[in-house]
């Protein structure tokens, strides 16, 4: 009964893993390989974003800034601090995670709207700071990060492709573990109804803060790896609001409640971005396309395409009728519109699942 869909799921995961691992050998030239590295980078970033966005429902538009911090942290530790590249990568990520504590402290004390505002402000202020502190960061002259390996360029791409794939696997594993834990349950109760979660004794603030720091750490690792791969950092491109919005778009499009949602979104949006660049390069139509897609997803498909595909499959799979499906508080509320119901049941259904 349930097994059919489970096998299907496992099969899909194996297929995805094989496809990702086989890609470098199939790529016809280094350019396609480098585009693959970029897509994987997006996949890691949006999976990292999904620690906050998926579990708690807090939408951050500022994760681009955390990636930029990771990139500059790693880059500066290598270029100015003389640390070995991969030590610098982890040290940089640890620094960013530590920095995420006060940022999270300010941002997470307030609900929804202010959180988004803070996340945008984070990008803008870091852009100003990194541009202005030219003596440390190189400012608009950029920062050159030395190559970690002495390889030809195609080999360099191949190595980093696998490094990004490894990081993606670790990030996915961490998300999966949290998803199945009590901690994850607490986080999801915040997403569904923060007041009730708090009333039921969940330490909402520390939960949010911890998951924000974890998310920042993974984001910084991806940013640092990018710095080692790409080699040239410029504040304008590292601290860009667009990066953050791409991550949100990818995760939402794929489905924030799904383990592989952000990866699927990254593959779709990353490829689409390349396509638009190649086809409509000399117009700003990629912005229009991004805007339209984001608007459509928000309006008509806020749960993403993976659940949509899942629903479609279920329609064929008649055996599986009474599945235990996650129901959002909003859906429940809509179901019971008109009924005067015990308001606590929403939270209880969720928590007691």
């Amino acid at each position: 009964m349930l097994n059919a869909s489970r096998y299907l799921k496992i099969g899909a995961v194996v297929l995805l893993a094989v496809a990702i691992l086989a890609f470098p050998s199939l790529a016809p030239n280094p350019y396609i390989l480098s585009a693959g590295v970029l897509v994987l980078n997006y996949a890691v970033l949006s999976t990292s974003w999904n620690f906050v966005g998926g579990f708690t429902g807090y939408i951050s538009l500022g994760h681009g800034a955390l990636a930029g911090l990771g990139a500059y942290g790693t880059g500066l530790l290598v270029a100015k601090g003389g640390l070995p590249p991969f030590l610098a990568l982890f040290a940089g990520a640890a620094l960013v995670a530590a920095l995420a504590v006060p940022i999270g402290f300010a941002a997470l004390r307030v609900r929804g709207a202010s959180f988004v505002i803070v996340s945008i402000a984070l990008v803008l202020i870091l852009l100003l700071v990194f541009q202005s502190s030219a003596s440390v960061t190189g400012g608009s002259r950029g920062l050159v990060v030395p190559r970690p390996f002495d390889l030809t360029r195609p080999e360099h791409h191949r190595v980093f492709y696998y490094l990004f794939a490894g990081l993606l696997a670790v990030a996915l594993l961490a998300w999966w573990l949290i998803d199945r834990s009590r901690f994850g349950l607490g986080l999801k109760s915040i997403r569904e109804d923060e007041d009730k979660a708090e009333a039921l004794g969940t330490a909402t603030f520390s939960y949010k803060l911890i998951v924000f720091v974890v998310s920042a750490g993974f984001t910084a690792l991806a940013g640092g790896l990018y710095a080692l791969w790409f080699g040239d950092l410029d504040p304008v491109f590292q601290f860009s609001i667009l990066t953050g919005s791409y991550l949100v778009l990818m995760a939402l499009l794929g489905g924030v409640r799904q383990l592989f949602g952000p990866v699927a979104g990254a593959i779709i949006v990353g490829t689409a971005l390349e396509y638009f660049k190649v086809e409509y390069g000399d117009t700003p139509l990629h912005l229009v396309a991004t805007g339209l897609l984001l608007g459509l997803v928000v309006l008509f498909m806020p749960d993403g395409i993976l659940p949509a595909i899942g629903d479609l499959l279920k329609r064929f799979d008649r055996t599986q009728k009474s599945s235990i499906r996650e129901v959002t508080a909003a859906e429940l509320r809509e179901q019971r519109r008109g009924e005067q119901d015990d308001p606590n049941r929403t939270a209880m259904t969720e928590a007691g699942r």
């Binding site: 496809a19 890609f23 790529a27 016809p28 030239n29 280094p30 350019y31 396609i32 480098s34 585009a35 693959g36 970029l38 897509v39 100003l128 541009q131 202005s132 030219a134 400012g139 608009s140 002259r141 950029g142 050159v144 030809t152 360029r153 195609p154 360099h156 790409f230 080699g231 040239d232 410029d234 304008v236 491109f237 593959i267 990353g270 490829t271 390349e274 396509y275 660049k277 190649v278 086809e279 390069g281 000399d282 117009t283 700003p284 990629h286």
Partner: protein, 410 residues
């Protein structure tokens, strides 16, 4: 994965050129299959910022490249092969510019490369070229940082790097008698390696000559309100005003200063005053504004007359500095290819690099030669707005008008 989507996008003009080319090949009717590469066109890969922050100068460089392509093809091409440009848009974005050159070299297997626009984009893209061992002549990476990266394949196709743009002006000012020489100077530069390079090149020389710096402001490229900076400069009453500007920021700063009725004795701005729109943008109050330029339409170099004439016929207006830089890049690469006798990836590129390093090339901006780092060994001319027109005033041997100091009120 993005395998199907990476179809080559050839700019419309290049496409048209290819079409004409193909038709020409058909009509000439040599049917024997293209066994050797002698009949294939030489493909030159370029990435330019056609959208985004640098799109205006980016398009200027593109026109320069296209003019060069047309002129060279009319003469029978390079090594008897026609020349084809493959221009991609990098959206003024460093990620993109790297991906573009990666695509041009790896996927499209172009024979030669031309550089992009802006220092910010030149450094990352030069690294790609370097790591694939391609000759990289570029039209716009003028900041000195470009030449401090240890690139061996990079050459800047213009007379001088940013920091040397004002050399003639600095000499002139410091040669003035002590009682006439300005005492104080104010600097405002955009946070951009090129713009800052020009202003600080002059600043270093004037400070060394004892002219006191009273204001030194840096503003981010997205600044639109210059009233605060203008207030500081006007308050300092500096004798000399130096703006490290691109285009619009220079205009905005001048308007803001005019609103405050500030009258310096000397005002020099990079790039902005050479723009054809400049005079009308600041309400024709241009009196005495100075600007360095690497190019003059009236320069007497033989290739320049041809360039100006044919460019004007093609685009309906005379070329500016960006166009000339693009054209110069083409001339440098063409000279190397003609001398070495090859144009393809691999061994050939090394020979091209060695040739450019060892030789002097005649171009529309004069004879160019380079040092070990790819830095050109020349200086810029200084132009001044005199009576509604911009004229070369320095150096003495090429001047079209007398250098005016102190400048008339604007």
């Amino acid at each position: 994965m993005p395998t199907t989507s990476f179809r080559a996008r050839i700019s419309r003009n290049a496409l048209a050129a290819t079409l004409i080319l193909t038709l020409g090949a058909c009509s000439s009717g040599d049917g024997d299959a293209a066994g050797g590469n002698a009949d294939d066109p030489i493909v030159i890969g370029v990435s330019l910022p056609l959208t985004g922050d640098f799109s205006e100068p980016g398009k200027g460089v593109q026109q320069g490249y296209e003019a060069w392509q047309k002129i060279i093809n009319e003469k029978g091409g390079l090594l008897g092969r026609q020349v084809e440009l493959k221009i991609l848009d990098d959206q003024s974005n460093a990620d993109r510019v790297v991906a573009d050159y990666e695509q041009l070299i790896g996927k499209d297997e172009v024979d030669l490369l031309f550089g992009p626009f802006s220092t910010r984009l030149v450094v990352p893209s030069a690294r790609v070229a370097e790591e694939y061992d391609m000759l990289f002549v570029e039209p716009a990476g003028a900041a000195k940082e470009v030449f401090e990266q240890g690139f061996k394949n990079l050459f800047y196709a213009a007379p001088a790097v940013a920091n040397d743009h004002y050399n003639h002006l600095a000499e002139k000012i410091l040669a003035m008698p002590a009682d006439q020489r300005p005492k104080t100077a104010a600097y405002a530069a955009m946070d951009d390696p090129f713009a800052q390079g020009t202003a600080y090149g002059l600043k270093d020389k004037l400070e060394a000559g004892g002219i006191k710096t009273v204001v030194n402001e840096v503003y981010p490229p997205n600044t639109t309100d210059f009233s605060g900076i203008a207030a500081k400069i006007a308050d300092s009453k500096a004798d000399v005003l130096v703006g490290g500007s691109q285009y619009q920021d220079g205009v905005n700063l001048i308007v803001a200063l005019q609103q405050l009725r500030y009258q310096p004795k000397l005002a020099a701005f990079s790039t902005a005053p050479t723009n054809p729109e400049f005079a009308s943008a600041i309400g024709n109050k241009t009196a005495g504004v100075l600007s360095p330029t690497g190019y003059s339409q009236d320069a007497q170099y033989p290739s320049n007359k041809e360039f100006v004439e044919k460019y004007t016929a093609q685009f309906g207006k005379a070329p500016e500095e960006d166009q000339a830089n693009g054209y110069t890049t083409g001339q440098v690469v063409a000279a190397a290819v003609t001398a070495v006798g090859c144009a393809e990836q691999g061994e050939c590129q090394k020979k091209l690099v060695d040739w450019v390093r060892a030789n002097t090339v005649e171009t529309v901006v004069g004879p160019l030669s380079w040092d070990e780092t790819g830095k050109p060994k020349g200086a810029h001319m200084i132009q001044q707005w005199v009576g509604g027109d911009i004229k070369i005033v320095l150096p003495e041997d090429v001047k079209e008008a007398e250098f005016l100091y102190p400048k008339p009120a604007w």
